[in-house]
Subunit: 210 residues, 2 copies
């Protein structure tokens, strides 16, 4: 990982700044709340100017949105990787699981970020917007794997929606639980999908009217 001079020095430098900016932003925002922290403070904490911040992110919200976008990409990628023989509920569970695994190690910080997103109207709105996009992307992939037409069939979109609803529920319960450790992300995910799975695998039979 460290011995790859493929990327130019400038590119690596740029990536470094971006990472530092993201790190500083998430830390400050998660601790202080979205409105209480100014872009100037974030930039200063990362060692750059306010103007430079806006050369990396389109807006203050964008720092968080880009972070979420990465999660979404991982989810879609994981779904594409699952074997086509797997039941939709299982494949979708693994896709969502992928997001959860990304939090491993960051548990405390990740929980703060989730809480931040869910409790900040502006960020929640952006999150839902992202989620709508994920649904469409997941629906397309589901349709492919089942040989359906994503544009006409109801099932792919519905199934993706249910999976995301389960995901959303997981995040809500996780973020509002005590920090202790009584609630485990993995268990939460498994339980939620256990509830959705029957509908997920059954509704396909009722969704394609002639």
């Amino acid at each position: 990982m460290t011995s790859r001079p493929a990327a130019s020095l400038a590119q690596r430098k740029r990536q470094l700044v971006a990472d530092e900016l993201t790190r500083a932003a998430l830390e400050l925002l998660a601790d202080g709340g979205f409105d209480a922290v100014t872009v100037d403070e974030i930039a200063t904490a990362a060692g750059v100017s306010k103007r430079t911040f806006f050369r990396y992110f389109a807006s203050k919200e964008d720092v968080v949105v880009q972070f979420l976008a990465a999660l979404g990409a991982a989810m879609r990628e994981e779904l594409a990787r699952r074997p086509a023989t797997e039941a939709p509920s299982v494949a979708l569970r693994h896709a969502v699981w992928r997001c959860v695994e990304d939090c491993a190690g960051h548990e405390e910080r990740a929980r703060k970020v989730v809480r931040l997103v869910l409790s900040t109207p502006a960020l929640l709105a952006r999150f839902l917007e992202r989620q709508a996009q994920w649904r469409d992307e997941l629906a397309v992939q589901l349709a492919e794997r089942l040989g359906l037409d994503a544009g006409r069939e109801l099932y792919p979109r519905l199934a993706a929606d249910m999976a995301l609803a389960a995901f959303h529920t997981v995040l809500q319960r996780w973020s509002t639980a005590d920090a202790g450790g009584g609630v485990d992300l993995v268990v939460l995910t498994r339980d939620s999908f256990a509830v959705v799975a029957p509908a997920l695998d059954a509704v396909v039979r009722t969704s394609a009217p002639a």
Copy 2:
């Protein structure tokens, strides 16, 4: 309607300003785009100061959001009014229909507003946020009418989601169609619900695992 002095003069005055502000805002925003119109211009067009605008609306987005909130309230109200014996798909269709009827007479303006919301990221995000809230509210009412527990059962939430997905599809197709008149809102709504209805009335049987 005009002969009711129940509301004080001050209250009627206030309502007048609010209406005029909403009217001016929707007209200007729909024509010029969200970013191209300043709050100052909206306020001036309504004959008040910028400061007063912010005494009626929390933000520039809020003008549109409050407008959408009114639609959502009408929808929930209509669902509550439908007889409990009606199939979910029929009751939900009437609820959504109520929103559509509110556009009657305003056709051109309403279409511009919808296009504005769907094409402006900030507004789309807020709209999705509202929609999520509608889903929860509709889910609660559906649960009541069916004697289910909205917290534990999947069906109410799923059904509300499907109805809103159909609604969303209607708005998308309507707003992107030519202004001429080839596409009718009523027909669009009927067709969309015809597609969702089977799943809507069938999925209830598969969503309540012991």
